[in-house]
């Protein structure tokens, strides 16, 4: 696996001694207190607690009581660049990722213009190479302008750096069009990721169809809008021997569909968002537009199914679907406001607080699912082991953040967890060997890009 399709600005390699951290990397089989020495941006040594002497020039971080994990991977973010930089840009979006503990991001192509041409993708990867704090990869569109009518030059886009293809934000409505894309995947490579929704069934729905939409009189999006398309597209993928990934799974019927198609040996995978894992349509009773997203927050039974899917691995990874929107856009009546929530700065905290702390999911499983999203697209999985490039996140599980207090790193503030008290504050993020985020308490400052060059 290679990270040659990840782009970020060059930064000074980290020289760090992290002392007495509880290191947890389930894949590397590490779950103990260690000193961790990072030299020249590489993990040099995992030693006994208190056993490593700081070399000259290394910053020492006293991490008693804190946890060191492999840094997180988010295979589904919207950086809104090019064209909607008033919502987010590469710099602010990747700063939000750094603050959330991420070392790899995959950005969606539903920008303006759409990432459907080699020239657009080239400009974007070049910009990321100068502005991205966190290594970022890109998906290109399946169809021109996400219109579902003409295929993009998938092979050329793949050669230019696309990790895969998606019309995310929209489904590929035409089965015939998707079939051609799946056939073409044999040439272009890359995973085809699908936002599943039948526009006829969704209609003018803006929230989950169920008891809460009945109470609110707001048009609903039925669960079957998602699951029927998963069934259709998994059948196509099986027929064509293609590889598809289903984005932001929200409904019990969808988890069941994925389970079935996996049992047939079809190459399908799925992702779960922190908000679908932790919130339900009950949170919409106040019609706060920060809870409006697509797919919508569904009922408690759906949430439980998504949690089970994550536990059993039918859903391989956690993905935020970080979807920033400007304040004036969200400050409209619920039905008019755009869909989406930011998520990069709260992803781990939300899942940790709602699922790990009460004992629903083990911490080690959450760490695996928080780090596996890139591997689906062929990216290397961050590991804490000597000789590895340093991709680590230091977290204080005991420390809380009232979400939004002190502001966000993201340019947009439309976070569905706004105002909630969440545990598990990120103290330090090292991505691709460099410190990209340090909290004020961590005793280290993040180098600005100017300092580095």
């Amino acid at each position: 696996m290679s990270d040659s399709k990840l782009f970020h600005r060059q930064a000074r390699p980290a020289e760090l001694l992290i002392r007495r951290a509880h290191v947890l990397d389930p894949r590397a089989g590490v779950d103990a207190t260690h000193d961790v020495l990072i030299r020249g941006g590489e993990i040099a040594e995992l030693g006994e607690p208190g056993g490593i002497t700081a070399p000259s020039g290394a910053t020492v971080i006293e991490a008693d009581g804190q946890h060191l994990f492999p840094a997180f991977v988010d295979p589904h973010v919207h950086l809104r660049t090019p064209g909607q930089e008033y919502k987010e840009n590469i710099e602010t979006g990747t700063a939000a990722a750094a603050a959330g503990g991420f070392c790899q991001l995959i950005a969606m192509p539903n920008t303006s213009p759409t990432v459907d041409q080699v020239s657009v993708l080239k400009a974007l990867t070049a910009a990321a190479g100068e502005q991205a704090a966190v290594p970022t990869g890109f998906l290109a569109a399946i169809t021109i302008g996400l219109q579902g009518r003409e295929l993009t030059e998938m092979a050329a886009l793949s050669d230019t750096g696309a990790l895969g293809f998606t019309d995310d934000g929209k489904p590929v409505v035409s089965a015939g069009m998707l079939r051609k894309a799946l056939q073409y995947q044999r040439l272009a490579g890359g995973v085809i990721a699908l936002h599943e929704e039948d526009p006829d069934l969704s209609g003018d729905g803006v929230m989950h169809e169920g008891a809460v939409s009945a109470r609110l009189g707001v048009a609903g999006i039925p669960s079957i809008s998602e699951s029927t398309m998963i069934d259709r597209d998994a059948a196509l993928a099986r027929y064509e021997g293609a590889r598809v990934h289903f984005q932001h799974i929200s409904a019990v019927e969808s988890v069941e569909a994925l389970q079935f198609w996996r049992s047939t040996g079809t190459r399908v995978s799925g992702e779960a968002t922190p908000h679908h894992l932790t919130l339900t349509d009950e949170d919409l009773l106040g019609l706060d537009s920060n809870f409006k997203m697509n797919p919508p927050l569904r009922a408690e039974a759906d949430r439980q199914a998504v949690i089970e899917g994550l536990r059993t691995g039918v859903l391989e990874c956690i993905a935020t679907d970080h979807a920033p929107h400007a304040r004036h856009e969200k400050e409209q009546p619920f039905e008019q406001a755009p869909m989406g929530t930011t998520g990069l700065e709260t992803s781990f905290m939300a899942v940790y607080t709602a699922l790990v702390k009460p004992g629903v999911l083990p911490l080690s499983l959450v760490i695996e699912r928080m780090t596996s999203g890139g591997a689906l697209y062929g990216l290397p999985i961050p590991r804490i082991a000597a000789g590895e490039r340093a991709n680590v996140v230091l977290v204080d599980l005991e420390r809380d953040w009232v979400v939004g207090e002190g502001g966000y790193a993201s340019r947009s503030h439309n976070c569905c967890f706004h105002g909630r008290r969440l545990s598990g504050v990120v103290e330090l993020t090292v991505a691709a060997g460099s410190v990209v985020f340090a909290s004020r308490g961590a005793g280290i400052t993040t180098p600005s890009p100017e300092e580095v060059s």
Partner: protein, 306 residues
């Protein structure tokens, strides 16, 4: 009662009863030759209507005027709203006049709740999308208590397009809160999935309509036909029209208006002595006076005394 009236859920049974008591005394005022009391003299009520409305807007206007308030009526057509001004900016602009209350009708669910963040005025929801229309439900309850004394133990059927009806949602809550049991009935395409979560029963046909003490008929909008919610209005009328052959003596018939005569309700039913439709309209002014009084005068006075 909270400072605003957004939803029937803002009111417990005692709160509803307090408004009914007030409405009874204001109904008495409406019976006088000079239909005016000085309760809101010197205070301003803004009626902000983003949707066409005849009876709701006129009755709110009359209610405020009979309480001696200064009234400003804003309609979306021809106003700055037409020029693309956001709801937030419109509300903040109007709030510069320091109104005591803003009465808002919006095509969007949650709009009334939302503007409470942008104004110091008390906000009254005069209908927000398909969500709620609490003053309609209060006047319906008032009309029924005037006719029958109480709703306790009544069996009320709500018939028609429940899916698109804010009146239905507020009525289901209000009728149940006052001790009635509610059954909704209509084409399965127009009954929301999981409507039973609101505590009501549901029926697909009018076969058992005779069980009802009160039949509340909803307006059937023509555009529903184009969206294939019903194949034709003729078929709808055949299956769901409330008419004299389907009613039994002693039942009461209500409708929020405007009626499509001959579609959801037959002419003979409208004109029969079973119909409370005229009484509903008449109740509108007294109940809206009561709501404005309760929000702007009643509660603060009680708090000041306590």
């Amino acid at each position: 009662m909270s400072r605003h009236l957004i939803s029937i859920d803002d009111l417990d049974r005692a709160g509803i009863e307090r408004i009914l008591d007030l409405a009874r005394s204001f109904a008495e005022v409406s019976g006088r030759e000079i239909k005016k009391v000085p309760a809101l003299r010197g205070r301003t009520v803004v009626n902000l209507f983003y949707e066409a409305s005849t009876r709701t807007s006129s009755s709110f206007e009359l209610a405020a005027k009979r309480l001696s308030a200064d009234v400003v009526n804003i309609r979306s057509a021809g106003s700055s709203v037409d020029k693309g001004e956001s709801l937030k900016d419109t509300v903040q602009t109007l709030s510069a006049y320091e109104p005591a209350a803003i009465v808002i009708r919006s095509p969007w669910a949650g709009a009334a709740q939302q503007i409470t963040h942008w104004t110091d005025a008390a906000v009254v929801n005069a209908g927000d999308g398909k969500h709620e229309h609490p003053t309609q439900a209060l006047l319906d309850v008032f009309t029924l208590t005037q006719a029958l004394g109480s709703l306790e133990g009544l069996n009320i059927w709500i018939v028609g397009d429940v899916l698109h009806s804010r009146v239905a949602r507020s009525d289901i809550l209000a009728f149940q809160r006052m001790g009635a049991s509610v059954t909704v009935c209509g084409p399965p395409t127009l009954i929301p999935r999981q409507i039973d979560a609101l505590g009501c029963a549901s029926q697909d046909t009018l076969a058992n309509l005779r069980e009802a003490d009160v039949v509340y008929v909803l307006r059937m909008q023509h555009e529903r036909m184009h969206d294939s919610y019903v194949p034709t209005l003729r078929e709808y009328a055949q299956r769901y029209q409330v008419n004299l052959p389907r009613l039994r003596a002693g039942q009461l018939v209500m409708h929020p208006g405007p009626v499509n005569r001959g579609v959801e309700l037959s002419g003979d039913a409208i004109d029969s002595n079973m119909a409370l439709i005229g009484a509903q309209v008449k109740s509108g002014v007294a109940v809206r006076m009561a709501v404005l009084y309760e929000l702007l005068v009643g509660a603060p006075v009680l708090q000041a005394v306590a």
